[in-house]
């Protein structure tokens, strides 16, 4: 009997917790409704498409290819990123550059984002700092897989 009474008290304590959450959160919601500034909000969630969370500077987002001052890609088609990529999603075709300083440049540079796992190894491997993952862009969903295959123009632009 005493045990049952103890359970009953615990049950009431549980409902007090949820009631407290309800009352406190409703208080903040009403404050927001009347445009009164408060220290915290009624909900801890973020209303995603309208409100966005700030991305950390070292967050690995969509890749971009860096360019030289003359607008050509910095990449020298050394194939290090292709070698290191664990998802094997980078495809580079080298071509000869008439400029003796450069000698090699990528005629095609394709990243298949549907395979990419955003590990950032390509950025680490690159000796020329030609590829970076700092665009801050994280929304690039597409309706078809083909649209996720990014070529040179898309990666530079």
């Amino acid at each position: 009997m005493i045990k049952a009474l103890g359970y009953f008290l615990e049950i009431i304590r549980g409902s007090i917790i949820t009631t407290r959450h309800f009352v406190v959160n409703m208080h903040f919601h009403f404050m927001k409704l009347f445009r009164i500034k408060t220290k915290r909000k009624g909900a801890v969630t973020i209303q995603y498409p309208e409100e966005k969370r700030e991305i950390a500077t070292r967050h690995r987002s969509l890749h971009r290819l860096m360019t030289n001052k003359d607008g050509k890609p910095r990449c020298v088609a050394c194939m290090l990123c292709v070698t290191v990529c664990p998802s094997e999603c980078i495809y580079v075709e080298a071509a000869e550059d008439p400029d003796l300083e450069v000698q090699k440049y990528p005629s095609t540079f394709i990243i298949d984002l549907s395979r990419c796992c955003f590990c950032g190894f390509c950025v680490e491997a690159c000796p020329e700092d030609a590829i970076r993952m700092d665009t801050g862009q994280i929304e690039f969903a597409e309706y078809s897989r083909e649209d996720l295959i990014y070529n040179l123009e898309k990666l530079i632009g």
Binding site: S15, F22, H29, A43
Partner: protein, 357 residues
Amino acid sequence: MSETIIILIKVVCALVWFLLITLYLTWVERKESAVIQDRIGANRASILGIRIIGLFQPFADAIKMIFKEDFTPRFSRRFLHNLAPFISFFFVAITISAIPFGDVLRIGGQEIKLQVMDINVGLLFVLAMLSLGIYGIILSGWSSNNRYALIGGMRGAAQLISYEVALGLSLIGLIMVYPSLNLSTIVHYQGELLFGWLPKWGVFLQPLGLLIFFFAALAETKRIPFDLPEGENEIVGFFTEYSGLKWGLFMMTDFMEVLIVSTLLTTLFFGGWQVPWLAADGFHFPWGSEWLLPHGIVVIFQVAAFNIKVFFFCWLQILIRWTYPRFRYDQVMDLGWKLLIPLSLANIVATAILLSI
């Protein structure tokens, strides 16, 4: 002729009130659970870009439910399978006819009772109809020919016998205090005053009865602390084989039961449409002052009081649903047979002794 029209209007009004609030209870449940869990909840449904904190959500849900495929499995008993949700829906929907929304409304020399049917045995009628609702659940579990659905239906039946006795017995004390089975008469009795200042509500005269009735009624709604027939995470429940609108009917029945239990709690234990110290001609406060009001205002006060009390109990039930985990199968039996029934019997004896003194 005018009698018939008045009855028709009353039926339509009561049903619209009932179904509309049931529809919005689905939204309230989502929102309230969100607020309890520090979330925001359903607020995306919009018409032409206008979204008033998600108030269109129930309609979006209804449209989705209507356009979903209504699938009847090949191995089910087709007739009973189709019949079950309607039985379960009908028997709950019909109970609203016995609930008094307010006192009489006088328009043009005519007295209209704000109650669809003033049945002499209204309380028995409501209890009987609520118990018949279990037929839908047992039938749906049985006719689906699915093992899990069958377990759900059987659990529903086992739960029924453990709470239904306590549900009936807990109200006997109340019937002894207000000697009537007529719901409007019970509400009228609750308008009197105790010691000259305390309204004679059931909660003050029958606190133990209220507690037992509340527990048993929670079991009646078959929602989370007592959701054995469903048990989403273990057996899915008696509606495993239902989809589309028929599943929607089961879900509506759930919320309708919440609403009906709230109206019953209000009517039986919290004075129904009674506002403390409000008589037919205005407020008569116990400290002697008076505030006389015209008839129309008094009726509005009464209906508003009824609605506020009902909404409070809907809120409380949703809070309970989002607070507690599910009772185990044997725990419900223990609670029903070992705790609630002896307590309700003790309540009857105590009430009888107090009444005879």
